[in-house]
Amino acid sequence: MRVTVVGAGIAGLTTALALSEGGATVTVVERSATLGADACSRYAGGMLAPWCEAESAEPLVTRLGQEALAYWPRVFPETIRRGSLVLAPARDAPDLDRFARRTTEHERLDAEGIAALEPDLAGRFRQGLFFPREAHLDPRRALASLADRLSARGVAIRFGEAFDPDGHSRDTVADCRGFAGADRLPDLRGVKGEMLILRCPGVSLSRPVRLLHPRWPLYVVPRGDGVFMLGATMLESGERHRVTARSVVELLSAAYTLHPAFAEAEILEMGADARPAFADNLPRIRAQGPRVAVNGLFRHGFLLSPALARRAADYILHGTQDPEVMDENPRQQRSA
């Protein structure tokens, strides 16, 4: 079977790999000139945190997300499994209790427990939660590793090629275009996220740290070599690329709360993009004739793409439908 995958973001590359491993002849087309240049995956945190996400996401995200913990170490050996840490300043302790109530697979930490895990945070926080089974990765390196793996399997990624809906009529098309796919998915919306990348040799962290705050929730993901990714705002907007001063101030003041040494950090990069999301913020595989859309991964691209890719490949290659992630086009449902 020949399949054209449209989009070389995280959804497209994982779907292409699953299809290729399943025996299909796969080609990937990507509108941008280089890998990840125009993909919102580029700005991801890369946290593989199915249990933490249960704080605001549906149980399905936690269930599907656990597949990522087996998938990424296999596909991208640089995946780091050291768990994740959730902290709250003393005055926001009720938020930590709420987080603990809404999530599972965590251990309560006191000041000593926090210091034992992250010595640089010693004496700064009195209570936290540790999710030992979670992991993290560097999204850009993971994308590159997926591309290498595809190329080793003979899967070509054709860059600089815009999607032509009628141009691949003989192939099955897996439409993995993220927010750009909204032209075919009227119920898809963008949720803007802004992030920063800092170099701060004065701070050392071994694992992602989430700082709870009623207005400015922040996470810091260590990328190694004193580099940190700070994320991320959540704004109901399909706007891409524009980072506002206000968001930067909020992210940085939250980082400063986590550790004052961040005040001296060098800002390496600021970025923003629109996460693709359906109204329930859950992902979908939607069959539209010979086209199959894989979309709506929202803020869970690296967490959910392994599960979605596998199900998309199962559907395309064998017709297997998983009702948890597959739906009819709502327009077709209404007219039926």
């Binding site: 709420r98 919306r189 704004l235 907007s237 399909g238 629109a274 109204a279 329930d280 913020n281 859950l282």
Partner: protein, 255 residues
């Protein structure tokens, strides 16, 4: 409740921020029975109407939209946001917030009165988020407001009615002005208490959005608000210090 010539059967006004997803928000609005939802424009707007998808989800709820100026720290900022809101939602209604302190989210009542005056002159119908201060309330009415929305407690704190005496005094001082408790409500019992005081409505957001089951909490609030209103109309008995038996004891056998 009647505000600016519009009669509302539901006395619950619901905020649309902080929900886990728009789908859960829609379900919460449905089960709350709210006829008015507040929407924040400031952060979502961006440069090119990029929030359209979310706003059309809000419009699809089929309820009246009360745009707000959440996050504005000056009269000028609030006025600009209100004008933008009128364009986007085609309504003259505006929930006016001018924040004086970004940590406590306490209203800046001076900026509030200034912005209220400018906006009513410009044809807006202003719902001011204020404190329980009576003089500020009078100034807001002078500025053209026809409804007052005092806080129960700081925004998002869920502490209920912090100044019961002040809120009671406010109700007595403005017997004919619609009064809506806006902010600080965490539990249905607190909303019920405000309604028992004779308040006309409750505006809340976090207590529903951050509940484990927002839609269920929305319905709980709707029930509590209805109960409080009925209790107010039914004229509660006055409390007293000593027990008073509800059946006569004099002459009962074996006493």
């Amino acid at each position: 409740m009647e505000v600016y010539g519009v009669t509302l059967a539901s006395r619950l006004l619901l905020g649309t921020a902080l929900y886990p997803s728009p789908a859960i928000l829609a379900e919460a609005v449905r089960r709350s029975g709210a006829e008015v939802v507040t929407v924040s424009l400031r952060r979502e707007s961006g440069t090119e109407r990029a929030g359209q998808a979310f706003w059309s989800l809000i419009r699809d709820l089929g309820v009246r939209v009360l745009p707000n100026t959440a996050g504005c720290h000056s009269a000028r900022e609030a006025i600009t946001t209100a004008q933008m809101a009128r364009e986007v939602f085609g309504t003259n209604w505006i929930k006016l917030e001018v924040i004086g302190n970004h940590d406590t989210l306490q209203p800046d009542v001076f900026g509030l009165v200034e912005a209220a005056r400018a906006l009513t002159t410009d044809g807006f119908e202003v719902f001011p988020y204020t404190t329980e201060d009576l003089v500020v309330g009078e100034r807001l009415l002078d500025a053209g407001c026809r409804v007052l929305m005092p806080w129960g407690a700081p925004i998002g704190s869920g502490r209920g009615l912090n100044n019961l005496y002040g809120l009671r005094a406010m109700r007595a001082h403005f017997p004919d002005v619609p009064l809506v408790v806006d902010a600080g409500i965490g539990l249905p019992s607190q909303a019920c208490q405000a309604m028992e005081l004779g308040y006309d409505g409750i505006l809340l957001n976090t207590a529903v959005a951050k509940a484990g089951d927002p839609a269920r909490m929305a319905e709980a609030f709707a029930n509590a608000i209805r109960a409080g209103r009925e209790a107010f109309l039914a004229e509660p008995m006055p409390p007293r210090d000593m027990a008073e038996p509800s059946t006569p004891v004099l002459g009962m056998a074996f006493r």
